[in-house]
Protein backbone atom coordinates (compact mmCIF):
# COMPACT_ATOMS: atom_id res chain seq x y z
CA UNK A 1 0.00 0.00 0.00
CA UNK A 2 1.25 3.47 -0.85
CA UNK A 3 2.06 6.13 1.75
CA UNK A 4 -0.16 8.42 -0.32
CA UNK A 5 -3.26 6.22 0.06
CA UNK A 6 -6.20 8.33 1.16
CA UNK A 7 -3.98 11.34 1.94
CA UNK A 8 -5.60 13.54 -0.73
CA UNK A 9 -9.12 14.01 -2.01
CA UNK A 10 -11.04 15.43 -4.90
CA UNK A 11 -13.14 18.11 -3.24
CA UNK A 12 -14.50 19.98 -6.24
CA UNK A 13 -15.71 18.88 -9.66
CA UNK A 14 -16.43 21.13 -12.65
CA UNK A 15 -17.95 19.99 -15.93
CA UNK A 16 -19.18 22.59 -18.42
CA UNK A 17 -21.32 20.03 -20.31
CA UNK A 18 -21.02 22.38 -23.31
CA UNK A 19 -20.40 19.74 -25.96
CA UNK A 20 -21.06 22.08 -28.88
CA UNK A 21 -20.32 25.70 -27.99
CA UNK A 22 -19.37 27.86 -30.98
CA UNK A 23 -17.64 31.09 -30.07
CA UNK A 24 -15.90 29.67 -27.02
CA UNK A 25 -12.16 28.95 -26.99
CA UNK A 26 -10.52 25.97 -25.24
CA UNK A 27 -9.44 28.38 -22.51
CA UNK A 28 -13.03 29.65 -22.11
CA UNK A 29 -14.16 26.08 -21.49
CA UNK A 30 -11.28 25.48 -19.08
CA UNK A 31 -11.88 28.68 -17.10
CA UNK A 32 -15.59 27.94 -16.76
CA UNK A 33 -14.82 24.42 -15.52
CA UNK A 34 -12.35 25.83 -12.96
CA UNK A 35 -14.96 28.28 -11.63
CA UNK A 36 -17.56 25.50 -11.37
CA UNK A 37 -15.15 23.20 -9.52
CA UNK A 38 -14.18 25.92 -7.03
CA UNK A 39 -17.82 26.83 -6.40
CA UNK A 40 -18.57 23.15 -5.90
CA UNK A 41 -16.27 23.01 -2.87
CA UNK A 42 -16.45 26.60 -1.64
CA UNK A 43 -12.83 27.51 -2.34
CA UNK A 44 -11.79 30.50 -4.45
CA UNK A 45 -9.24 31.22 -7.15
CA UNK A 46 -6.92 32.86 -4.63
CA UNK A 47 -6.70 29.53 -2.80
CA UNK A 48 -5.30 27.74 -5.87
CA UNK A 49 -1.52 27.40 -5.64
CA UNK A 50 -0.99 24.29 -7.77
CA UNK A 51 -1.95 24.25 -11.46
CA UNK A 52 -2.10 21.16 -13.66
CA UNK A 53 -3.16 21.65 -17.26
CA UNK A 54 -2.67 20.42 -20.79
CA UNK A 55 -4.43 21.81 -23.89
CA UNK A 56 -3.93 20.34 -27.37
CA UNK A 57 -3.77 23.65 -29.16
CA UNK A 58 -1.40 25.41 -26.75
CA UNK A 59 2.30 24.76 -26.20
CA UNK A 60 2.29 26.76 -22.95
CA UNK A 61 -1.09 26.05 -21.34
CA UNK A 62 0.08 26.63 -17.75
CA UNK A 63 1.14 30.17 -18.56
CA UNK A 64 -2.08 30.96 -20.38
CA UNK A 65 -4.31 29.48 -17.68
CA UNK A 66 -2.47 31.22 -14.83
CA UNK A 67 -2.80 34.58 -16.58
CA UNK A 68 -6.47 34.12 -17.43
CA UNK A 69 -7.39 32.93 -13.93
CA UNK A 70 -5.28 35.65 -12.32
CA UNK A 71 -3.40 33.18 -10.15
CA UNK A 72 0.28 32.81 -9.28
CA UNK A 73 0.75 29.06 -8.71
CA UNK A 74 3.88 27.99 -6.83
CA UNK A 75 3.71 24.52 -8.33
CA UNK A 76 2.68 23.49 -11.85
CA UNK A 77 2.75 20.46 -14.14
CA UNK A 78 1.89 20.62 -17.83
CA UNK A 79 2.80 17.03 -18.68
CA UNK A 80 1.50 16.27 -22.17
CA UNK A 81 1.03 12.59 -22.94
CA UNK A 82 -2.24 12.87 -24.89
CA UNK A 83 -5.60 12.00 -23.38
CA UNK A 84 -4.07 10.37 -20.30
CA UNK A 85 -2.32 13.62 -19.30
CA UNK A 86 -4.87 14.51 -16.63
CA UNK A 87 -4.42 11.25 -14.75
CA UNK A 88 -0.67 11.83 -14.83
CA UNK A 89 -1.52 15.28 -13.42
CA UNK A 90 -3.69 13.68 -10.73
CA UNK A 91 -0.80 11.48 -9.62
CA UNK A 92 1.55 14.45 -9.64
CA UNK A 93 -0.95 16.62 -7.75
CA UNK A 94 -1.37 14.02 -4.99
CA UNK A 95 2.36 13.86 -4.48
CA UNK A 96 2.76 17.65 -4.59
CA UNK A 97 -0.02 18.12 -2.01
CA UNK A 98 1.36 15.53 0.39
CA UNK A 99 4.86 16.98 0.15
CA UNK A 100 3.64 20.54 0.66
CA UNK A 101 4.54 21.86 -2.79
CA UNK A 102 0.98 23.18 -2.97
CA UNK A 103 -2.15 23.21 -0.79
CA UNK A 104 -4.95 23.47 -3.36
CA UNK A 105 -4.47 21.80 -6.74
CA UNK A 106 -6.49 22.63 -9.85
CA UNK A 107 -6.45 20.06 -12.69
CA UNK A 108 -8.15 21.59 -15.69
CA UNK A 109 -8.86 21.08 -19.40
CA UNK A 110 -10.87 22.69 -22.19
CA UNK A 111 -11.46 22.08 -25.88
CA UNK A 112 -13.41 23.47 -28.83
CA UNK A 113 -12.65 20.53 -31.07
CA UNK A 114 -16.16 20.21 -32.48
CA UNK A 115 -17.09 23.85 -32.96
CA UNK A 116 -13.63 24.65 -34.36
CA UNK A 117 -14.39 22.34 -37.27
CA UNK A 118 -14.36 18.81 -35.98
CA UNK A 119 -10.74 18.25 -36.82
CA UNK A 120 -8.40 16.73 -34.28
CA UNK A 121 -5.98 19.50 -33.39
CA UNK A 122 -2.70 18.12 -34.58
CA UNK A 123 0.18 18.71 -32.24
CA UNK A 124 3.53 19.54 -33.83
CA UNK A 125 4.97 16.07 -33.60
CA UNK A 126 5.83 14.86 -37.11
CA UNK A 127 6.35 11.13 -37.63
CA UNK A 128 8.57 10.76 -40.71
CA UNK A 129 8.64 6.95 -40.47
CA UNK A 130 4.83 6.81 -40.68
CA UNK A 131 3.99 9.70 -43.02
CA UNK A 132 4.83 7.98 -46.36
CA UNK A 133 2.18 5.32 -45.67
CA UNK A 134 -0.64 7.81 -44.88
CA UNK A 135 -2.19 6.10 -41.85
CA UNK A 136 -5.27 8.01 -40.71
CA UNK A 137 -4.35 9.48 -37.37
CA UNK A 138 -5.09 8.13 -34.87
CA UNK A 139 -7.63 5.53 -36.06
CA UNK A 140 -5.31 3.45 -38.23
CA UNK A 141 -3.00 2.84 -35.27
CA UNK A 142 -5.92 1.60 -33.16
CA UNK A 143 -7.12 -0.45 -36.14
CA UNK A 144 -3.73 -2.19 -36.31
CA UNK A 145 -4.06 -3.04 -32.61
CA UNK A 146 -7.64 -4.27 -33.10
CA UNK A 147 -6.63 -6.44 -36.05
CA UNK A 148 -3.85 -8.00 -34.00
CA UNK A 149 -6.19 -8.58 -31.03
CA UNK A 150 -8.64 -10.32 -33.39
CA UNK A 151 -5.82 -12.48 -34.75
CA UNK A 152 -4.43 -13.40 -31.33
CA UNK A 153 -7.70 -13.96 -29.45
CA UNK A 154 -10.54 -14.42 -31.93
CA UNK A 155 -12.13 -11.07 -31.09
CA UNK A 156 -14.82 -10.12 -33.61
CA UNK A 157 -16.54 -7.02 -34.95
CA UNK A 158 -19.66 -8.25 -33.13
CA UNK A 159 -17.72 -8.07 -29.85
CA UNK A 160 -16.67 -4.49 -30.61
CA UNK A 161 -20.30 -3.65 -31.39
CA UNK A 162 -21.28 -4.73 -27.87
CA UNK A 163 -19.01 -2.02 -26.47
CA UNK A 164 -20.69 0.67 -28.57
CA UNK A 165 -24.16 -0.60 -27.62
CA UNK A 166 -23.37 -0.67 -23.90
CA UNK A 167 -22.02 2.89 -24.06
CA UNK A 168 -25.19 4.11 -25.77
CA UNK A 169 -27.41 2.29 -23.26
CA UNK A 170 -25.63 4.11 -20.42
CA UNK A 171 -25.79 7.42 -22.30
CA UNK A 172 -29.55 6.99 -22.54
CA UNK A 173 -29.60 7.15 -18.71
CA UNK A 174 -27.51 10.35 -18.69
CA UNK A 175 -29.41 13.53 -19.59
CA UNK A 176 -26.08 15.28 -20.26
CA UNK A 177 -24.77 12.78 -22.85
CA UNK A 178 -24.26 14.21 -26.34
CA UNK A 179 -25.31 11.09 -28.29
CA UNK A 180 -28.58 9.69 -26.99
CA UNK A 181 -31.35 7.66 -28.57
CA UNK A 182 -31.82 4.15 -29.86
CA UNK A 183 -28.89 2.33 -31.47
CA UNK A 184 -29.18 -1.21 -32.83
CA UNK A 185 -26.61 -3.93 -33.36
CA UNK A 186 -27.42 -3.90 -37.08
CA UNK A 187 -26.80 -0.14 -37.28
CA UNK A 188 -23.43 -0.50 -35.57
CA UNK A 189 -22.35 -3.40 -37.79
CA UNK A 190 -23.50 -1.60 -40.95
CA UNK A 191 -21.55 1.54 -40.09
CA UNK A 192 -19.07 2.84 -42.67
CA UNK A 193 -15.63 1.21 -42.54
CA UNK A 194 -12.89 3.79 -41.92
CA UNK A 195 -9.75 1.76 -41.26
CA UNK A 196 -10.42 -2.00 -41.09
CA UNK A 197 -11.64 -3.44 -38.77
CA UNK A 198 -12.84 -0.16 -37.23
CA UNK A 199 -15.93 1.66 -38.48
CA UNK A 200 -17.34 5.07 -37.69
CA UNK A 201 -19.44 3.42 -34.94
CA UNK A 202 -16.24 2.17 -33.27
CA UNK A 203 -14.95 5.76 -32.95
CA UNK A 204 -15.47 8.17 -30.09
CA UNK A 205 -17.43 11.37 -30.57
CA UNK A 206 -15.93 14.70 -31.53
CA UNK A 207 -17.23 17.36 -29.10
CA UNK A 208 -16.25 20.48 -27.21
CA UNK A 209 -16.01 20.46 -23.43
CA UNK A 210 -14.32 21.62 -20.26
CA UNK A 211 -13.54 19.82 -17.03
CA UNK A 212 -11.78 20.59 -13.76
CA UNK A 213 -10.97 19.00 -10.42
CA UNK A 214 -9.92 20.61 -7.15
CA UNK A 215 -7.79 18.50 -4.82
CA UNK A 216 -6.60 19.13 -1.26
CA UNK A 217 -5.04 17.08 1.51
CA UNK A 218 -7.57 14.90 3.31
CA UNK A 219 -7.64 16.83 6.61
CA UNK A 220 -8.76 19.97 4.77
CA UNK A 221 -11.17 18.08 2.52
CA UNK A 222 -13.39 17.17 5.45
CA UNK A 223 -14.18 20.82 6.18
CA UNK A 224 -15.28 21.69 2.65
CA UNK A 225 -18.75 21.86 1.20
CA UNK A 226 -18.90 18.74 -1.00
CA UNK A 227 -18.53 15.06 -0.12
CA UNK A 228 -14.81 14.27 -0.63
CA UNK A 229 -13.71 11.57 -3.05
CA UNK A 230 -10.48 10.06 -1.75
CA UNK A 231 -7.54 9.17 -3.95
CA UNK A 232 -6.55 5.64 -2.93
CA UNK A 233 -3.90 4.92 -5.54
CA UNK A 234 -2.53 5.83 -8.93
CA UNK A 235 -0.30 4.22 -11.53
CA UNK A 236 1.11 5.35 -14.86
CA UNK A 237 3.23 3.98 -17.67
CA UNK A 238 4.51 5.28 -21.02
CA UNK A 239 5.48 2.66 -23.59
CA UNK A 240 5.97 4.15 -27.08
CA UNK A 241 5.06 6.93 -29.50
CA UNK A 242 4.44 5.15 -32.83
CA UNK A 243 2.19 2.11 -33.02
CA UNK A 244 4.91 0.03 -34.75
CA UNK A 245 7.04 0.47 -31.63
CA UNK A 246 4.37 -0.92 -29.27
CA UNK A 247 5.89 -4.10 -27.84
CA UNK A 248 2.74 -6.23 -28.21
CA UNK A 249 -0.18 -4.72 -30.10
CA UNK A 250 -2.79 -6.73 -28.23
CA UNK A 251 -1.56 -5.90 -24.69
CA UNK A 252 -1.26 -2.33 -23.39
CA UNK A 253 0.81 -0.64 -20.68
CA UNK A 254 -2.44 -0.55 -18.66
CA UNK A 255 -1.07 -3.82 -17.26
CA UNK A 256 1.69 -1.80 -15.55
CA UNK A 257 -0.39 1.26 -14.63
CA UNK A 258 -3.10 -0.99 -13.19
CA UNK A 259 -0.65 -3.10 -11.19
CA UNK A 260 0.83 0.06 -9.67
CA UNK A 261 -2.57 1.56 -8.86
CA UNK A 262 -3.95 -1.62 -7.27
CA UNK A 263 -0.79 -2.02 -5.18
CA UNK A 264 -0.93 1.62 -4.04
CA UNK A 265 -4.61 1.29 -3.08
CA UNK A 266 -4.20 -2.15 -1.54
CA UNK A 267 -7.10 -3.58 -3.53
CA UNK A 268 -7.73 -5.92 -6.48
CA UNK A 269 -9.95 -5.65 -9.55
CA UNK A 270 -12.69 -7.68 -7.80
CA UNK A 271 -13.01 -4.91 -5.17
CA UNK A 272 -13.95 -2.25 -7.75
CA UNK A 273 -17.63 -1.24 -7.89
CA UNK A 274 -17.49 1.17 -10.85
CA UNK A 275 -15.14 1.41 -13.82
CA UNK A 276 -14.32 4.20 -16.26
CA UNK A 277 -12.16 3.16 -19.23
CA UNK A 278 -11.03 5.66 -21.86
CA UNK A 279 -12.98 4.51 -24.94
CA UNK A 280 -11.34 6.37 -27.79
CA UNK A 281 -12.40 3.37 -29.87
CA UNK A 282 -14.43 0.29 -28.95
CA UNK A 283 -11.28 -1.84 -28.93
CA UNK A 284 -9.75 0.20 -26.10
CA UNK A 285 -12.56 -0.64 -23.66
CA UNK A 286 -12.12 -4.30 -24.45
CA UNK A 287 -8.32 -4.29 -24.07
CA UNK A 288 -8.40 -2.30 -20.82
CA UNK A 289 -10.97 -4.70 -19.31
CA UNK A 290 -8.41 -7.45 -19.89
CA UNK A 291 -5.27 -5.52 -19.00
CA UNK A 292 -6.76 -4.17 -15.75
CA UNK A 293 -7.85 -7.64 -14.69
CA UNK A 294 -11.64 -7.43 -15.00
CA UNK A 295 -11.53 -10.53 -17.22
CA UNK A 296 -8.78 -12.88 -18.40
CA UNK A 297 -6.46 -11.84 -21.26
CA UNK A 298 -8.16 -12.57 -24.56
CA UNK A 299 -11.62 -12.93 -23.04
CA UNK A 300 -12.69 -9.29 -23.39
CA UNK A 301 -14.86 -10.13 -26.38
CA UNK A 302 -16.80 -12.85 -24.60
CA UNK A 303 -17.01 -10.69 -21.46
CA UNK A 304 -18.69 -7.76 -23.20
CA UNK A 305 -20.88 -10.11 -25.27
CA UNK A 306 -22.30 -11.48 -21.99
CA UNK A 307 -23.81 -8.06 -21.27
CA UNK A 308 -21.45 -7.53 -18.30
CA UNK A 309 -20.67 -3.86 -18.93
CA UNK A 310 -24.13 -2.65 -19.99
CA UNK A 311 -26.77 -1.33 -17.57
CA UNK A 312 -27.93 -4.28 -15.44
CA UNK A 313 -24.66 -6.16 -16.03
CA UNK A 314 -22.17 -7.39 -13.45
CA UNK A 315 -19.64 -4.55 -13.93
CA UNK A 316 -20.84 -0.98 -14.57
CA UNK A 317 -18.41 0.49 -17.13
CA UNK A 318 -18.45 3.99 -18.66
CA UNK A 319 -21.71 4.90 -17.00
CA UNK A 320 -21.76 8.44 -18.42
CA UNK A 321 -21.91 6.96 -21.93
CA UNK A 322 -18.15 7.21 -22.43
CA UNK A 323 -16.21 8.84 -25.20
CA UNK A 324 -18.38 6.84 -27.58
CA UNK A 325 -21.71 8.38 -26.54
CA UNK A 326 -21.28 11.07 -23.84
CA UNK A 327 -18.50 13.40 -24.97
CA UNK A 328 -14.96 13.41 -26.36
CA UNK A 329 -13.39 16.86 -26.54
CA UNK A 330 -10.03 15.91 -28.06
CA UNK A 331 -8.55 14.60 -24.82
CA UNK A 332 -11.14 12.85 -22.66
CA UNK A 333 -9.10 11.56 -19.69
CA UNK A 334 -10.35 14.01 -17.08
CA UNK A 335 -13.95 13.03 -17.75
CA UNK A 336 -13.27 9.46 -16.57
CA UNK A 337 -12.43 10.90 -13.14
CA UNK A 338 -15.38 13.31 -13.20
CA UNK A 339 -17.85 10.45 -13.66
CA UNK A 340 -16.11 8.29 -11.04
CA UNK A 341 -16.44 11.19 -8.58
CA UNK A 342 -20.13 11.67 -9.42
CA UNK A 343 -20.78 7.97 -8.77
CA UNK A 344 -18.86 7.95 -5.47
CA UNK A 345 -20.81 11.00 -4.34
CA UNK A 346 -24.04 9.18 -5.17
CA UNK A 347 -24.96 12.03 -7.52
CA UNK A 348 -25.30 10.14 -10.80
CA UNK A 349 -29.10 10.10 -11.00
CA UNK A 350 -30.71 7.40 -13.13
CA UNK A 351 -27.34 5.83 -13.88
CA UNK A 352 -26.21 5.68 -10.23
CA UNK A 353 -24.38 2.47 -9.30
CA UNK A 354 -25.89 1.13 -6.06
CA UNK A 355 -23.47 0.93 -3.15
CA UNK A 356 -20.62 2.51 -5.09
CA UNK A 357 -17.64 2.75 -2.70
CA UNK A 358 -14.61 2.09 -4.96
CA UNK A 359 -14.20 3.39 -8.51
CA UNK A 360 -11.42 2.93 -11.04
CA UNK A 361 -10.73 5.55 -13.73
CA UNK A 362 -8.34 4.69 -16.53
CA UNK A 363 -7.06 6.95 -19.29
CA UNK A 364 -5.12 6.40 -22.47
CA UNK A 365 -3.06 8.76 -24.59
CA UNK A 366 -1.43 8.87 -28.01
CA UNK A 367 -1.85 5.55 -29.80
CA UNK A 368 -2.14 3.27 -26.74
CA UNK A 369 1.11 5.04 -25.79
CA UNK A 370 0.50 6.39 -22.29
CA UNK A 371 -1.68 4.70 -19.68
CA UNK A 372 -2.75 5.96 -16.27
CA UNK A 373 -5.03 4.45 -13.66
CA UNK A 374 -6.58 6.08 -10.59
CA UNK A 375 -8.47 4.31 -7.84
CA UNK A 376 -10.91 6.44 -5.87
CA UNK A 377 -13.09 5.72 -2.87
CA UNK A 378 -15.60 7.06 -0.38
CA UNK A 379 -14.77 7.71 3.28
CA UNK A 380 -15.77 4.10 3.97
CA UNK A 381 -12.66 2.92 2.11
CA UNK A 382 -10.16 4.87 4.24
Amino acid sequence: MSALRGKTAIVGVGNTKRWNAPGRTPFDQAQEAAVLALEDCGLSLKDVDGLFCSISSSGLPILNMAEKLGIRPRHADGTMVGGASFLFHLQSAASALVHGLCDVALVVYGSNQLSAGGKLVSMPDPQPYEAPYRPRYPISSYALAAARHMHDYGTTREHLAEVALAARAWANLNPHAYARGPLTRDEVLASRMVSDPLTKADCCLVTDGGAALILTRTERAKDLRAKPVYLLGTGACVSHRQIAAMPDLSTTAAVESGRLAYAAAGIAARDVDHVMLYDAFTITTLMFLEDLGFCAKGEGGAFVASGAIAPGGSLPVNTNGGGLSCNHPGMYGLFTVIEAAEQLRGAAGARQVEGCEVALAHANGGVLSSQATAILGTSATL
Binding site: L144, A147, H151
Partner: protein, 128 residues
Protein backbone atom coordinates in the same frame (compact mmCIF):
# COMPACT_ATOMS: atom_id res chain seq x y z
CA UNK B 1 36.03 21.55 -26.32
CA UNK B 2 35.91 17.79 -26.56
CA UNK B 3 33.02 15.64 -27.64
CA UNK B 4 32.49 11.94 -27.16
CA UNK B 5 33.78 10.24 -30.31
CA UNK B 6 31.22 7.42 -30.02
CA UNK B 7 28.57 9.89 -31.17
CA UNK B 8 30.60 11.63 -33.90
CA UNK B 9 29.37 11.76 -37.49
CA UNK B 10 25.83 12.05 -38.84
CA UNK B 11 22.97 11.00 -36.60
CA UNK B 12 21.26 7.65 -37.12
CA UNK B 13 18.25 9.05 -39.00
CA UNK B 14 20.65 10.65 -41.49
CA UNK B 15 22.62 7.42 -41.88
CA UNK B 16 19.43 5.45 -42.57
CA UNK B 17 18.13 8.04 -45.07
CA UNK B 18 21.46 8.33 -46.89
CA UNK B 19 21.62 4.56 -47.38
CA UNK B 20 18.05 4.51 -48.75
CA UNK B 21 19.04 7.23 -51.24
CA UNK B 22 21.83 4.89 -52.40
CA UNK B 23 19.35 2.03 -52.75
CA UNK B 24 20.46 0.18 -49.63
CA UNK B 25 18.29 -0.93 -46.70
CA UNK B 26 20.01 -0.65 -43.35
CA UNK B 27 18.97 -1.64 -39.84
CA UNK B 28 20.47 -0.90 -36.46
CA UNK B 29 21.68 -3.79 -34.35
CA UNK B 30 22.94 -3.65 -30.78
CA UNK B 31 26.53 -4.84 -30.44
CA UNK B 32 25.88 -5.81 -26.82
CA UNK B 33 22.69 -7.89 -27.11
CA UNK B 34 22.11 -8.25 -30.89
CA UNK B 35 18.59 -6.77 -30.73
CA UNK B 36 17.61 -4.80 -33.86
CA UNK B 37 15.62 -1.57 -33.81
CA UNK B 38 13.79 0.75 -36.18
CA UNK B 39 13.30 3.73 -36.45
CA UNK B 40 16.93 4.43 -35.61
CA UNK B 41 18.02 5.87 -32.26
CA UNK B 42 21.15 6.31 -30.16
CA UNK B 43 20.52 3.53 -27.66
CA UNK B 44 19.29 -0.05 -27.66
CA UNK B 45 15.68 -0.22 -26.44
CA UNK B 46 16.26 -3.76 -25.15
CA UNK B 47 19.38 -3.34 -23.01
CA UNK B 48 20.19 0.38 -22.93
CA UNK B 49 23.59 0.04 -24.60
CA UNK B 50 24.76 3.02 -26.67
CA UNK B 51 26.85 0.72 -28.88
CA UNK B 52 24.69 0.27 -31.96
CA UNK B 53 25.98 -0.88 -35.35
CA UNK B 54 24.38 -1.16 -38.77
CA UNK B 55 23.52 -4.32 -40.71
CA UNK B 56 22.00 -4.81 -44.16
CA UNK B 57 18.91 -6.91 -43.43
CA UNK B 58 17.59 -9.62 -45.73
CA UNK B 59 14.51 -7.54 -46.60
CA UNK B 60 12.32 -10.53 -45.75
CA UNK B 61 9.60 -10.29 -43.16
CA UNK B 62 6.02 -11.12 -42.24
CA UNK B 63 2.91 -9.01 -41.76
CA UNK B 64 2.48 -8.43 -38.00
CA UNK B 65 -0.74 -6.42 -38.38
CA UNK B 66 -2.67 -4.78 -41.18
CA UNK B 67 -5.44 -2.30 -41.91
CA UNK B 68 -7.16 -1.03 -45.04
CA UNK B 69 -7.64 2.72 -45.02
CA UNK B 70 -10.87 3.68 -46.79
CA UNK B 71 -10.74 7.07 -48.46
CA UNK B 72 -13.21 8.55 -50.93
CA UNK B 73 -10.71 8.15 -53.76
CA UNK B 74 -9.94 4.53 -52.94
CA UNK B 75 -8.59 2.11 -50.38
CA UNK B 76 -4.98 1.39 -49.51
CA UNK B 77 -3.05 -0.82 -47.15
CA UNK B 78 -1.10 0.18 -44.04
CA UNK B 79 0.75 -2.63 -42.30
CA UNK B 80 3.27 -3.32 -39.58
CA UNK B 81 5.99 -5.61 -40.89
CA UNK B 82 8.14 -7.72 -38.62
CA UNK B 83 11.51 -8.15 -40.32
CA UNK B 84 13.27 -11.53 -40.22
CA UNK B 85 15.91 -9.79 -38.08
CA UNK B 86 13.24 -8.88 -35.47
CA UNK B 87 12.54 -5.14 -35.76
CA UNK B 88 9.07 -3.94 -36.75
CA UNK B 89 8.19 -1.00 -38.95
CA UNK B 90 5.14 0.66 -40.41
CA UNK B 91 4.88 0.13 -44.17
CA UNK B 92 2.52 -0.97 -46.93
CA UNK B 93 2.11 -4.20 -48.87
CA UNK B 94 1.78 -3.61 -52.62
CA UNK B 95 1.05 -6.07 -55.43
CA UNK B 96 -2.04 -7.48 -53.68
CA UNK B 97 -5.50 -6.09 -52.89
CA UNK B 98 -5.27 -4.13 -49.59
CA UNK B 99 -7.92 -6.20 -47.84
CA UNK B 100 -6.15 -9.43 -48.94
CA UNK B 101 -3.09 -8.56 -46.86
CA UNK B 102 -3.24 -10.95 -43.90
CA UNK B 103 -1.32 -11.25 -40.66
CA UNK B 104 1.45 -13.81 -41.16
CA UNK B 105 1.85 -13.14 -44.89
CA UNK B 106 5.49 -13.49 -45.99
CA UNK B 107 6.73 -10.32 -47.67
CA UNK B 108 9.92 -8.82 -49.06
CA UNK B 109 11.09 -5.20 -49.12
CA UNK B 110 11.61 -2.79 -51.99
CA UNK B 111 12.67 0.81 -52.04
CA UNK B 112 10.25 3.27 -53.62
CA UNK B 113 11.90 6.52 -54.75
CA UNK B 114 9.04 9.03 -54.63
CA UNK B 115 8.51 11.49 -53.04
CA UNK B 116 11.35 10.49 -50.71
CA UNK B 117 12.91 7.02 -50.72
CA UNK B 118 10.92 4.71 -48.46
CA UNK B 119 10.33 1.00 -47.98
CA UNK B 120 7.31 -0.91 -49.22
CA UNK B 121 6.76 -4.65 -49.24
CA UNK B 122 5.44 -7.19 -51.74
CA UNK B 123 4.26 -10.73 -51.12
CA UNK B 124 7.37 -12.95 -51.02
CA UNK B 125 8.10 -14.62 -54.34
CA UNK B 126 6.22 -11.90 -56.24
CA UNK B 127 8.69 -11.24 -59.05
CA UNK B 128 6.75 -8.35 -60.59
Amino acid sequence: MSTDPRFDGPGPDDVFAAALHEGRITLQQCRACATTRHPPALVCAACGSADLGWIEPSGRGTVYSTTTVRERDGAYNVAIIELAEGARLMSRVDGIAPEAVAIGLAVSARIVAEPQPHLVFHPAGDGA
